[in-house]
Assembly symmetry: C2
Amino acid sequence: MNEQARTVRMPMVGRVLEANDDVAAMTRGDLARRGVFAIDLIGAPGSGKTALLEATLQRLKGRRRPAVLVGDLATRRDADRLARWCDRVVQISTGEGCHLEAGQVRVALDQTNLEGVDLLFIENVGNLICPVGFDLGQTAKVGMFSLTEGDDKAAKHPYLVAAADLLLLNKIDLAPHLSFDRAGFEADVHLLNPTVRVLELSAVSGQGLDEWIAWIDRGISAVQGETPE
Amino acid sequence: MNEQARTVRMPMVGRVLEANDDVAAMTRGDLARRGVFAIDLIGAPGSGKTALLEATLQRLKGRRRPAVLVGDLATRRDADRLARWCDRVVQISTGEGCHLEAGQVRVALDQTNLEGVDLLFIENVGNLICPVGFDLGQTAKVGMFSLTEGDDKAAKHPYLVAAADLLLLNKIDLAPHLSFDRAGFEADVHLLNPTVRVLELSAVSGQGLDEWIAWIDRGISAVQGETPE
């Protein structure tokens, strides 16, 4: 039964992905021409994506001009939280959709004033699986895990780990209260993606945020063709 | 673009779901005839599904005869953890699949000795979205949130909350280290599902497990047509 369902479904999924990739390529070209560094942030529900973006926007205020797209099944809560720190926030409500698609990002960008914008955060729907396969036209894909999810999550989500340009390990402030094998987690990561960096941080305590901000600054410099510091 | 993709996709998804429901109905009938209470456990990656099942199997040992099906993209880690407490554990590897389907459950049950089994746990793939729409033939759907995911997760996952027969709020032992509005969380839940019970527990400290076990015992009694205590 399952094999049958898979055989029936594959060609259709193939065509949808192809159309998605065409739109993503257009978006990628547009963003590159504008000098926008675009991050697709993927993590489980509650891994701390919105909290990290809040802390990040706060630190970048006055120095960078970011825009944010936020994907959620329902509610405007994340967008409302982020709008306190950024005047260009667009909520994308996906209904029952488990990931963002390139077309949704394109429509949202059409509604966004990108004048002067140098940084775009796309907070994907909270899901470690489905968003990985959909190119949105981002410059970099950032995967987010958190200490409270357990040290086996990299091994159990190999596609995200393999596809990520950077991995974040959030909620490091809770380390004293949890059992989490950081060496084992890193070993799993580097079996799947030998070159990816794992950045430990806490959106709550601020630990690791300087390195995260420095990584973003280097990304913007690269997109704008500047010589990195 | 997105609307177009949706229009193209819907009829195919419709047929797949229909086939899924037919298989699920067969499984439901078979399990009912055997007097098996079957739980589909749905929660985010790292919400603590496997840890709860470990603690549950440990407590039921000698008193109930459970079987467990475990869905994961990759690795046998969860199945290996659970096999310490239960001799009927089947791992279902979904590859890139973001949820279990009725056909996979049926095939796994065909490989399981159900002689004397009165309880079936189906640990779904860690994902708060996609598993909700797929009937597996379960008796009860249990949704799991955890305190570390934040108090907005019920509102942001309305389909799971509306479909659940019971909601678990895990990691209650970490409450002193987190900011989590339990009253607000419960209010969100009961807007979406006025009758569902929210059971607070900790798979680590054991808090709330007696009530969880009592709920399971009542479920088995109901399926086997016994008068509940």
